[in-house]
């Protein structure tokens, strides 16, 4: 290497070291100020006692973890159902021809309804309304009904994400498929949907991060999930710490999904850049 090059490298390294040092110092100062502001507030001792009580938090942990396990199972089952149902809805909305009008209209109406309906209201209507019909064979298990409500609402969102993906596939791809003699169904199945799903993966993962925490809402139907477990143990200890612990557990659950979403987005970006 020439001296000019060595000099450049040395200069860049010194700049990089300086940047790291500044970031470190500023983070420490910022955290210290924040901590000081919170702990010096007049109500801090009581807040610490009722929200950050280590002993109560530790004692509530087994029940919370058991509840979280229920959330995770609901999450996994719902995710699969939502993907299937959402994709089906999106595919139905692309069907052409007058025969399919009723299906298409139904799918459009479904998406309009469940995308607009607040999840909490849907949970109440499904969770208390369906069993109220007293039809034989209908479940009255709050976990199943809560899961059903989640699937109903999230399928509508996911269907729209898929539809955006389908519409993002360039018309020249459709022309190429048609020119080979593929019919509409084959074109969708083999050319459009595979490209659409790859493109919308980051957006879908983002929706699933949202679903992870909304799984906690099935507690309003009485399912003993992490949120409900926190509520129970808060009611017996007169302390809010179990809620904080449950919240941290949900955050911990979301972080891997969020990183996965970032990774998928980056992968799609690099692949599309190469196209």
């Amino acid at each position: 290497m020439t001296t000019a090059a060595l000099d450049r490298v040395a200069y860049r390294q010194s700049r990089a070291r300086r940047s790291t040092l500044i970031a470190l110092v500023s983070t420490v100062v910022f955290a210290a100020v924040l901590l000081l502001a919170v702990t010096s507030s007049p109500g801090w001792p009581r807040v610490r006692e009722s929200f950050f009580n280590l002993r109560i938090g530790w004692e509530s942990l087994p029940a919370l973890l058991e509840g979280l396990w229920l959330n995770v199972r609901v999450l996994v089952v719902c995710q699969v159902l939502i993907l299937i149902f959402g994709l089906g809805l999106a595919a139905v909305r692309t069907l052409r021809g007058p025969v399919w009008f009723p299906l298409r209209a139904l799918a459009t109406g479904y998406v309009d309804l469940f995308r607009g309906l607040p999840l909490l209201i849907c949970l109440y209507l499904v969770g208390f309304g369906l069993p109220g019909l007293r039809l034989s064979g209908l479940p009255n298990n709050p976990v199943l009904l809560g899961g059903l409500a989640l699937v109903l609402i999230y399928s509508a969102y996911v269907a729209e994400v898929f539809r955006a993906g389908i519409e993002s596939v360039h018309p020249s791809q459709l022309a190429a498929a048609k020119s080979l003699g593929l019919n509409h169904r084959r074109t969708m199945q083999l050319v459009v949907l595979p490209q659409a799903t790859r493109r919308v993966t980051p957006a879908l993962l983002n929706d699933f991060v949202a679903l992870q925490k909304d799984c906690g809402l099935i507690s309003v139907l009485g399912a003993v999930d992490a949120v409900r477990a926190a509520q129970i143990s808060a009611a017996t200890t007169y302390n809010f710490t179990p809620y904080v612990v449950a919240g941290l557990l949900f955050v911990a659950l979301a972080i891997p999904s969020a990183r996965l979403a970032d990774w998928a987005a980056k992968r799609v970006a690099t692949r599309q850049g190469a196209l």
Partner: protein, 249 residues
């Protein structure tokens, strides 16, 4: 002996995008084993003509006959009619989520009922013929433009279409990659393929075309043998177009 029915027969084809006329009464006959080259300025209707023939666009008036059968009749199954034609596009339009081999084997497998193995064997053969046997497993984004276009040609040949439609297939290529694609088309022409191609490569047109058609304003202004149209054009508009093309060289 009766005259054989042309492979392609276009009668009075008219097409407008919204209110802008693109084709205004095009007549064209293409006999078997013939290579017809469409020339003309951008916007003269060459691509639209090819897209109409492949039933990728709805036409406003006229008829398109393939082996004497009216495929522009809305009552026929357009998907089935397209199976007799192969089209290659200016921008390749390979399926980016499939390997070169999967692109080529797709139509035989899905549309023409070949088994996966037969379709892939045939696909390998074709990739070999276009000089890409070592790239069978490559995805389109790993291939150069010229390689992608050769895969696209193999894909259009995979089901032995009666008619090959080539829409400015070298226009999106770097100059040094044009040759490999044109060489391949020349080989196809010499093996008796029936081809209609739109192109700006005049030297190539002179070499392979049985008939050259000059389009202007959505009409075929002049057509005839390559020597006649490209060397001794009858029409002023053809002469002006060719001068603009060769004037600078």
């Amino acid at each position: 002996m009766s005259t054989p029915v042309p492979v392609l027969s276009v009668r009075g084809l008219t097409k407008a995008y919204h209110d802008r006329p693109v084709l205004q009464g095009v007549d064209l006959d293409v006999a078997e084993h013939q290579v017809v080259v469409l020339i003309g300025a951008s916007g003269s209707g060459k691509s639209t003509l090819l897209r109409c023939v492949d039933l990728l666009e709805d036409i406003d008036d006229g008829q398109i006959l393939l082996d004497g059968r009216d495929i522009s009749d809305p009552r026929i199954d357009a998907d089935e009619a397209r199976q007799a034609m192969g089209m290659v596009f200016q921008s390749f339009n390979l399926f980016p989520h499939m390997t070169a081999l999967a692109n080529v084997a797709l139509a035989p497998r899905v549309v023409h009922g070949s088994s996966r193995r037969d379709a892939e064997d045939r696909g390998r053969e074709l990739l070999d013929r276009v000089g890409l046997s070592s790239h069978a497993g490559a995805y389109p984004d790993k291939l150069s433009g010229g390689q992608q276009q050769r895969v696209a040609i193999a894909r259009a040949l995979a089901y032995e279409p009666r008619l090959l439609l080539l829409d400015e297939i070298t226009s999106a290529l770097d100059p040094e990659l044009v040759g490999e694609v044109l060489t391949l088309v020349g080989e196809l022409a010499s093996t008796g393929r029936t081809i209609v191609m739109a192109t700006h490569e005049m030297a190539f047109a002179r070499e392979v075309a049985d008939t050259v058609c000059f389009l202007d304003g959505g009409r075929i202004v002049e057509s005839g043998s390559a020597a006649d149209v490209l060397t001794n054009p009858r029409e002023d508009r053809t002469r002006q177009f060719l001068q603009r093309f060769t004037g600078g060289r």
